[in-house]
Symmetry: C2
Subunit: 109 residues, 2 copies
DNA sequence: CCAACATATCAACGTTCGTTGATCGACGGA
DNA sequence: TCCGTCGATCAACGAACGTTGATATGTTGG
């Protein structure tokens, strides 16, 4: 196994970051380019402190980055962050070529 | 947009299902083929009712299916379930070809 | 330097979520 | 049919999480 892979805990943190409705929507809105906070605020009709809270979660998880430009702060998706989640999902395969059926009678100890 | 896509709420539910440590591990263990509950139980060193709780979450989200065989119940990944999550992540692009910088001064209303 | 604005942080609160132990239902073997 | 086993369900509990309103920090323009 060549390790370009994210540590498991960090990967889980990314899934947790995305798996919340508000943040899910933020990620959607960030698709295609950066947005400033106030823009997201009106788009999502979310209170300022609420948005700030969620953006921090996404940032801590490495999903987004922020950039200050004067009075405003712009958030953007971190290139590759979502790709690493995709990679995990891609490695998990529903079926194997073949899996021997359990020998009768002794599943558990 | 051709709609082979999962409704947004269902997709979010899948992310929520996977974004928890125990369930994250269950999904990992199910990679490559089905496993019976007691197998997972000893693998993950989890109490029986705890495991049952998490397997239900995964099942409700459409991530896994269950199959009874005599005394045992086997859980397996639903083919395509994780692919739909991958598809979402693939659609979300960090950068657009070009995004006009905001005209000076009037970000918010 | 002060006022107005954009954003972050904090404390308090309620809700949701995962854990545990107990009980129940289903199945198979003796 | 009775007993032992596998698994699901339930109620009670505590912990983690998201929301809100208030306050703090940083920036621009007058």
């Amino acid at each position: 196994m060549s390790e370009t892979t994210l540590p498991s805990a960090a990967l889980l943190q990314r899934f947790q970051a995305v798996a919340e409705e508000t943040r899910f929507e933020i990620v959607r809105r960030l698709s295609g380019g950066e947005r400033c906070v106030c823009e997201l605020q009106s788009d999502l009709d979310a209170a300022q402190s609420r948005l700030s809270f969620h953006l921090k979660k996404l940032k801590d998880a490495g999903v987004v980055s922020d950039r200050r430009d004067g009075r405003w702060v712009y958030y953007a998706l971190v290139p590759g962050a979502l790709e690493e989640m995709r990679a995990f999902l891609g490695e998990v395969k529903p079926e194997e070529t073949w899996r021997a059926p359990r020998v009768s009678g002794d599943c558990c100890s």
